[in-house]
Amino acid sequence: MTGPPSSGMDGHLGDRLSGLLDGELGGAQADEARRHLAVCPSCARELQAVGEARSWLRHLPPVDPPAGFRERLLAADPTLAERPRGAAVVPLKGRRAAVATVAGLAAAAAAVLGLFPAPDPPAEPEVTRLVEAHATAGQGTDPLSRLVPVGVPVSFGR
């Protein structure tokens, strides 16, 4: 291998990128990772991509779980209810994998749905009908002023 100094089994930082972003690496490990990043464009690109994906996820608004989610979860694994609140139930590495999976799904969905959205179907609003619906629903003016214009049909052209 002739690449830059490595810190992982394949010569790159791998999971340590997340550790670096989370501030979980010790001082020496963090310094080593930064030195590697300075000379390894591949890891530098991956660090940037992981950072952006985490930033997108971090800016998501809070979402409540769907109704019945907790009940279904407990039905699937009743031991969850016995575990102390806040206890880590997923190993750190697994959690990173989960984040990476969601980020990957988001990126894939973005590529398929967001960046290349299917065109909306064409719509031809029936303006005359909308005008009639408006005039008959309104309450603001006296009924005479409101309804008299509807007695005069108008074509908006097509």
Binding site: W56, L57, H59, L60, P61, V63, P66, V102, L105, A106, A109, A110, L113, G114, L115, P117, P119, D120, P121, P122, A123, E124, P125, V127, R129, L130, V131, E132, A133, H134, A135, T136, A137, G138, Q139, G140, T141, D142, P143, L144, S145, R146, L147, V148, P149, V150, G151, V152, P153, V154, S155, F156, G157, R158
Partner: protein
């Protein structure tokens, strides 16, 4: 152009300004609404309006008794006593366009935005009338002639921002019958009335308020089209939304292109006001109102999806949100 210019003749009969009237049961606009319900009458009403093709005049017959009103022109419209509203087209058959069960919230008071003052007297359809002007700040929006005896609106002029008369609805003949015949509502009709709903799901939106002081007073859905009804104390304003996109070739031909926050929109005139049509974020919007066009443009600009397309970041955020909620 002549009829609209003639409409300004009322100004010749105006007198000095009087203090603004308080908004209450004494409010002449409230009195006029009540009079149209409470009094029996028959007559002819002339409608004047202008659009891109020029000025137009049409005459319709009106008949009201026992709280039911019928307008007979090329279309026939009926406001039944139970507040159901029907429309009979030229080809026959009645459509129910407004159900008696579809309620709406109370309108905001007109006094919060408009000032109504009595400015003089006039004669309309051979009946004595008092002339009122409705101003928004310093801008004269409407000039009305109310029947002195009944408070019926004998004439209503809508004015543009420069004081020009844009639309007029005016009695040319009016009779108060001794024994009015009560219009009978249709025995059969096709139900095209929207059902009242309490909320809309994205991509539709119906904010409780829009710019220019418009408050939402009703929310309805019919055939995949959502209607949010707003009022500012004087004007009604509807925002219709449906999924899809506008192809330029499918836009009604009489529209005038306008800019809405940098987005192309189309403006139309009709005998009862204006229409604004545009497309944003997968939704086609149609705004219909008797308000001035500048109100429509400002109100439209305050809708969440108006005037901007989704950024890449916004798209990603929505996609991630949908993934999390799976």
């Amino acid at each position: 152009m002549k009829p609209l210019v003639a409409g300004t003749a009322l100004t010749l009969l105006t007198a000095a300004w009087s203090p603004a009237m308080a908004q209450s049961a004494d409010d002449p606009l409230v009195q006029a609404r009540r009079a149209a319900r409470d009094h029996s009458f028959t007559g002819q009403v002339e409608v004047l309006w202008r659009d891109a093709a020029g000025d137009h005049v049409a005459t319709v017959d009106v008949r009201s008794a026992n709280g039911s009103l019928v307008v007979s022109g090329t279309n026939t419209v009926m406001d039944a006593r139970d507040r159901a509203r029907f429309l009979r087209r030229r080809e026959g058959g009645w459509d129910l366009l407004w159900s008696a069960t579809s309620s709406s919230a109370a309108n905001p008071p007109s006094s919060s935005k408009y000032r109504t003052v009595e400015t003089g007297a006039a004669t309309v359809a051979a009946r004595p009338a008092r002339v009122l002007e409705v101003r928004e700040g310093t801008v004269l929006r409407q000039r009305l002639a109310l029947d002195t005896l009944t408070n019926l609106v004998l004439r209503r002029e809508h004015l543009g921002a420069r004081g020009e008369v844009q639309r007029v609805v005016s009695f040319t003949a009016l009779k108060i019958p001794d024994e009015p015949s009560v219009p009978a509502p249709p025995t059969a009709s096709e139900d095209r009335a929207g059902r009242a709903i309490t909320a809309v799901a994205p991509p539709f939106s119906a904010p409780p308020t829009l710019r220019e002081g418009y408050e939402r007073v009703g929310l309805y859905e019919e055939g995949g089209i959502v209607q949010a009804l707003y009022n500012d104390g004087l004007y009604d304003l509807s925002v219709f939304q449906q999924r899809g996109r506008l192809n330029r070739g499918d836009v009604p031909a009489s529209g005038q292109p306008v800019s809405l926050g940098g987005r192309r929109a189309w403006a139309y005139n009709w005998p009862g006001g204006h229409v604004l049509l545009w497309h944003a974020a997968g939704t086609v919007y149609a705004m219909v109102s008797d308000a001035p066009m500048e109100h429509l443009l400002l109100a439209a600009d305050s809708l969440p999806a108006a005037g901007r397309s989704l950024s890449l970041g916004e798209r990603l955020r929505r996609i991630c949100r949908s993934l999390v909620t799976l």
